[in-house]
Symmetry: C2
Subunit: 592 residues, 2 copies
């Protein structure tokens, strides 16, 4: 049982049947066809030779099949990690150089080791530091950068910027050097692929094809573009007219081996590898969960850390670069009927066969077509609606999102993510540092207590009740002190202060210290401090300290009990408007 | 009114009367007598010439009197900031060199500017990042380092380490060089001062003196030691026997002027200045609040930022070093009857007069006596009880505290504070990332719902209720997803899931995204998602989005309503044990 937790293959492998094999094999075939151009394109995006993309789609998939808890996740190279790899490896060496390829390999190995280690330590919660608006903003911004960076292949000019403004500037300054045959191929591919994506599926369905089949065929659009463009370029020898083509891709399987250790380079790449691993993990798990829920299956995030870690380690020892679960590819795998992770292993076999036997036929494949498939794929990642939603929902979250987008566009992926994470932490602490407190009064004739600002309630001048609407911890403990200080200074009649704790889920040591300070200061001011409706776990903690003994007042189970004890005429409603109530100096002691 | 907020002197100055003047003047006289040896001692601790301590006790006090909101806070040099100044300036130059003195001046100016700026921006909440266990641990560790560092003056050997282990090592290796007359003076001062601190006050009270007078005389113990030791050293010319004495202190007032700007040095000192300003602010405000509460007065933390900032700026333009409100000194000021900040201004006049006319008489003052006063003062900062309390109350807070203490002792004050702040943030996020969720059932015969693990309650197999006991935000949103995923996979009978939100005070955009994902996944799994007891502010936020429209179930005001609607036989208690209940397949649908 324990072993099967770490090797889910032992679980599903035991029940593997012939029917499942057929379904998995069909799905694998479809995913393989889709993955061949994708892996070549993403390798180019990462600044790597095309075969590296293929290599990253063989061993990692087999390893994921052994460790993965998602039945349908399709692992391999993805756009965002390719961009992040280019940014990180670009700091070490020039794109395409042996040192650069080595850096990409080290990134895979390191990010795999980081994920694997986090999985063993069950530290998956670290991914939570990436808030949703930060992830969403980061992906949108990355999609824009990727799309812009691929435009150079579409119009056939050189450019190499890592932020949006550099890229746009380079494109504009090189515009006179445009290669017309490349532009023709690039633009027509773009138009074709956008048409396939938006129009082909409905069209196929009007021809009577089922929804799933139509989806799969529409997803295979890039394959048609690839085949057609190879034929055209080869027949017209457009490569001699300046169209950049793929040329020879080595027809051999990846060599195995741990990347050479160079302390400086590994240290330099460690931070980037950590970011790559977290971003890859968050994206992959979200895809896996969505697909699993459709079949009431479960994905175990900590085991996913181990599985994705092992996959990236596998990429790192088999001449690959960082991999993770891809969104579109996994959806195709799911729709095509994959039932177990074996489909991924079969895909790996398909890619291995393609590497050995298919690549010679890709000699004339124009880079412009690969660039067009990337652009069409990543523009679907750009989610402007999410920005609007977050703006409407929470200005604070929007701030973190906007900062992530602008920093990513202007200063690159790493600074973008780090800014977003830092800012969302800061804003969270800022927001919870001034929590909602409400003065409450009794709803006449009931035992209910409500915010004096929102309801017609009865209050006492002698007994003031403050409801604390947030857990107390270091970031807001002093705000409670300040609030109580202000109450003491502004309500000279007050003899009792009740802090009402129904929404206080925890009180840390700073919160306790503040409560103790409040108790002492109120004592000096001649006011008793009481608590009401304290939750069990909070009360358990208080009992390990002297606080309850030192408390000048009592702890009441219910707020009504407290009022009945401390100001019974208010609590029972026997004080009347205009009549001297329970306050000692005879002033009316309630407001409605 | 607005102006008086920024210049509280306009408020209390208007009502200033003769009687108040007498009280303030008496308090100022007592504080001055206490402050003279203190300011000399703390300057030595900071590695600065003694007059710098006096200079830091003149202009800053006058400025605080103009801006401060505490009536009784006594501003000036304090032990912890002196140690932090030594650590920061020591990175720039050798102690006592002109560059070192300049660095201390820049630290005062920068930390003043930082506090002043934070005050104008009303960013006092930044101080909340320093949790109480971190502050408490930091002060305890600093107290130990300061005490150890002063031992060299007691035994008369050179030593200059910045962490506890360096200092102890240096003391031991220099032990053979001990100067016996110094040791005699140092030890007898220590014994005398400890005796004064612990025994003199009770003794004076048995002679019939009042509590306040006895307290004040006991606090003036260092003054007796100073006077006596000067007489002894001067008469026996012990300076010729190797006793280090104060010698000439310039009898002139500080020169005024902004410290010279050197970009590199200022940048290097900025981080240290930020730490100094935050630590100083937190300590000072805590003292000010405690004293204010005794008289039902109020301290405004944001105006205190401005006041303490202006004071440190004043130190920075008048040849001083960083200052803040001191604990012992403020307590003496309070006990001596100070009524307004004017007492501080009068103290400044006293120190100015002492600088001009008293310092020649301090020529023979042995450094060992000053060191002894420091040791006695800082050992009262060492709070071992607080460590035990935090250990008992919260292991997580203890971890942050222990890390702060060990890092401060082993690697110095700055790394100590930074480690503590980082770790407490991390642990807070970790702790709230796995919040408490409880499956709840109905208490039979009532409309109350309680945790199934703690109470005998009735539950339905078709309708599962999960109570969320924490606000939802990015660090815990995915944990809710994981929990719901596990519920879906483990309860095949479930048709409805109710998330009960009575303790959810806010839901950020990541939380909303997770709820939307949960809603969609449950829909795919054939389960409706409902919410109950959602708070007003949370509901207001939901209404800005599509979430409530997309929700497959309903939002119920009360949990009982939800059960009555979704599984009425359970809610009304008409299902009986062993009898097929409301579940559709006829299995018993409750557990008790």
């Amino acid at each position: 049982m324990k072993l099967a937790n770490y090797f889910p293959i032992l679980d599903w492998g035991r029940k593997y049947r012939g029917e499942t094999f057929v379904n998995d094999a069909v799905a694998a075939l479809i995913v393989t066809i889709m993955l061949i151009p994708q892996s070549l394109a993403y390798a180019l995006l990462a600044g790597l030779p095309p075969q590296i993309g293929l290599y990253a789609s063989i061993l990692p998939l087999i390893v994921y099949a052994v460790f993965g808890t998602s039945r349908t996740l399709a692992v391999g190279p993805v756009a965002i990690l390719s961009l992040m790899t280019a940014a990180a490896a670009g700091k070490i060496a020039a794109a395409g150089s042996p040192e650069y390829i080595q850096a990409a390999l080290i990134l895979a190995f390191l990010s795999g080791a980081i994920l694997f280690g986090l999985g063993l330590l069950r530290m998956g919660f670290l991914a939570n530091f990436l808030s949703h608006p930060v992830i969403s903003g980061f992906i949108t911004a990355s999609g824009l950068i990727i799309a812009a960076s691929q435009l150079k292949h579409i119009i056939g000019v050189p450019a190499s910027g890592h932020n949006l403004f550099e890229i746009i500037y380079e494109l504009i300054t090189h515009l006179s050097a445009v290669n017309l045959p490349t532009l023709a191929i690039g633009l027509s591919s773009l138009v074709f692929l956008f048409w396939v994506r938006s129009q082909l599926k409905p069209l196929l369905k009007t021809f009577g094809l089922g929804d799933k089949i139509a989806t799969i065929i529409a997803r295979a659009g890039p394959v048609f573009a690839v085949v057609l463009s190879i034929v055209v370029v080869a027949m017209l020898r457009l490569d001699e007219a300046g169209v950049k083509i793929l040329r020879d891709v080595p027809t051999e399987l990846p060599s195995l081996g741990v990347p050479g250790f160079n302390r400086d380079v590994w240290m330099q790449l460690f931070g980037s590898a950590a970011l790559i691993s977290l971003i890859g993990f968050v994206e992959s798990v979200s895809v896996a969960k969505t697909l699993a829920a459709k079949r009431r299956q479960k994905v175990d995030p900590n085991q996913e850390l181990i599985a994705l870690g092992a996959s990236s380690l596998a990429a790192g020892v088999s001449s690959g670069y960082p991999v993770t679960g891809g969104l579109a590819r996994s959806a195709v795998n799911f729709d095509a009927g994959a039932e177990t992770p074996a489909a991924g292993a079969f895909t790996a076999v398909g890619i291995a066969l393609a590497t050995l036997f298919l690549t010679p036929y890709l000699y004339f494949l124009p880079q412009a077509v690969l660039a067009a498939t990337i652009i069409v794929a990543v523009l679907s990642l750009v989610d402007i609606q999410a920005i609007k939603t977050v703006w409407a929902y929470s200005k604070s979250d929007f701030l973190a999102m906007a900062a992530t987008i602008l920093m990513t566009l202007g200063f690159g992926v790493e600074l973008g993510v780090l800014t977003g994470v830092g800012l969302s932490l800061f804003l969270h602490l800022y927001n919870t540092s001034t929590p909602h407190f409400a003065f409450v009064g009794q709803v006449p004739g009931t035992q209910h207590f409500r915010n004096v600002d929102r309801h017609a309630v009865v209050t006492s001048e002698r007994v003031v009740t403050l409801r604390v609407d947030e857990s107390l911890y270091f970031a807001n403990a002093r705000f409670l002190e300040d609030t109580v200080d202000a109450v003491v200074a502004s309500k000279p009649e007050m003899k009792h202060l009740i802090l009402m704790f129904p929404a206080v889920n925890r009180v840390d040591a700073s919160g306790l210290e503040s409560l103790e300070a409040i108790n002492l200061r109120l004592k000096d001011a001649g006011v008793s401090l009481h608590l009401s409706e304290v939750k069990g776990p909070v009360m358990d903690r208080f009992q390990t300290t002297h606080f309850l003994e030192d408390l000048t007042g009592k702890v009441y189970l219910h707020q009504y009990e407290a009022m009945e004890d401390l100001d019974p005429r208010i609590a029972r409603g026997t004080a009347r408007r205009g009549e001297p109530g329970a306050s000692e100096d005879g002033t009316p002691n309630f407001t409605i």
